[in-house]
């Protein structure tokens, strides 16, 4: 039975899972227990989330990361919006916006945008994809520890969702004076936002529990 198989697999995985969990916000210690689908364990002292049930398996997460990579490429090469003004048109991509800021004397903003909208999200996708690829067989990828630490550090600096909303505001602002045609880029960013939301309930640190060091 697939169900029993999954359960025994989970038990096996729990061998090197920790028994205790410490709240990251107040240092309270709890004994860990397996969570049912949709369950969230909250700290009774400070109310922070201790851990959530991870409803996507490693295979599913890997598939979504591959999808995210493809959508990320589309989002970056195709125009986000096209403007029209008496016969002339102008379109931009994410990098068009970065370059425009750089050339117009706002290099700091260009740098921030490039990091938070391109380099950090891309490194998240590539690194997570890398560790998931090996985690499918329960193995730890080469450089696993560094990869996992980088994922934790980079996470707060990835701002795809904010850019998506910013695009909508810009479209509405431009709409007063120009003809606005949304490009494929805006859909790609919308889809990326969806994927980001899906992953936001997943803690990559669970991979520490379900993988083992390869015996050398």
């Amino acid at each position: 039975m697939a169900r029993a198989g999954a359960a025994s697999k989970r038990r096996e995985g729990m061998h090197n899972a920790q028994e205790l969990i410490v709240c990251e916000h107040c240092d309270s210690v709890y004994r860990r227990r397996p969570l049912a689908r949709g369950e969230v364990a909250d700290c009774t002292v400070c109310g922070a989330v201790l851990e959530r049930h991870q409803w996507l398996g490693v295979e599913a997460q890997f598939a979504l990361i591959v999808a995210a990579f493809i959508v990320f490429v589309i989002a970056n090469v195709s125009p986000i919006v096209t403007l029209g003004l008496s016969g002339m048109t102008a379109a931009t991509t994410l990098w068009g916006a970065v370059i425009a800021m750089w050339n117009d004397g706002a290099q700091v903003v260009a740098f921030l945008s490039a990091m938070t909208l391109f380099f950090f999200p891309l490194s998240q996708i590539l690194i997570f994809g890398w560790v998931l690829w090996f985690a499918r067989d329960g193995r730890r990828a080469p450089g696993f520890a560094q990869a996992m630490s980088t994922l934790v550090r980079v996470k707060p600096w990835s701002m795809i969702e904010v850019f998506m909303l910013g695009t909508l505001v810009a479209v509405v602002k431009a709409h007063t004076y120009f003809d606005v045609v949304p490009g494929p880029g805006i859909w790609a960013f919308g889809f990326l936002t969806l994927l980001v939301t899906l992953f936001s309930s997943h803690d990559p640190r669970q991979l520490w529990d379900i993988t083992r060091e390869a015996r050398a």
Partner: protein, 206 residues
């Protein structure tokens, strides 16, 4: 239900990066046996760092609001907008709903962050035991909404790239947007430097 024990009472600590539970150590050079990152009971220099970054953000917040963030140029007119006047224009000419969102992201959220971070830092320094759970919740709120303030910065970036019709119509970024971007980054760094565990340490009254 009894309150669960705290890690320090059990002689334990937890890695801030990978969450591995280890034996308590005060060795400043200790490293997590699992992920290799430095182990520490509380974030280092948490209060001083959070204050310094918050003060720097507050200073930059003034030019961010006083200086215009964006110039809209056309044949007949030249229009410089600050954050606030841009929101007012969006309210009148575009969409009041979006104006409310931008107002929340660009004005309310940064101001709330200054107030909440200041309050959290003062209350921790005074070892207050007052409404600890609510303060913990405030901290999580600041962490959650902080980066949405980048909204206006991205709007200016997109419009500057899009509206490039030679002399007919142009949008350019102005210095205000640079200051504002720096404010958002500094407040985010300040919130990250703050250690919420301090809220639960040495409380005078319970």
């Amino acid at each position: 239900m009894n309150a669960p024990p705290r890690a320090s009472e059990l002689g334990m600590m937890s890695c801030h990066v990978c969450r591995l539970v280890t034996a308590y150590t005060e060795d400043p050079h200790a490293h997590c046996p699992r992920c290799g990152n430095a182990l520490h009971v509380r974030k280092r220099g948490s209060i001083a760092r959070a204050w310094a970054l918050l003060a720097a953000a507050a200073i930059f917040y003034i030019p961010a609001n006083v200086f215009p963030i964006m110039r809209t140029q056309s044949l007949s007119s030249k229009d410089d907008n600050t954050i606030l006047s841009g929101i007012a224009e969006l309210w009148r000419a575009g969409s009041p709903g979006l104006a409310v969102i931008v107002f929340t992201a660009s004005i309310i959220v940064p101001v709330l962050k200054f107030v909440i971070m200041g309050y959290l830092l003062v209350s921790v320094q005074r070892s207050s035991g007052f409404v600890a759970k609510q303060r913990a919740r405030l901290y999580r709120f600041v962490e959650l909404v902080g980066y949405w303030s980048m909204l206006d910065v991205f709007v200016v970036a997109i419009l500057s790239a899009l509206v490039h019709f030679k002399i007919l119509s142009r949008v350019e970024p102005l210095p205000g947007v640079v200051y504002f971007g720096v404010v958002v980054v500094l407040t985010m760094l300040s919130a990250m430097s703050f250690d919420p565990r301090l809220i639960w340490d040495n409380r005078k009254s319970q």
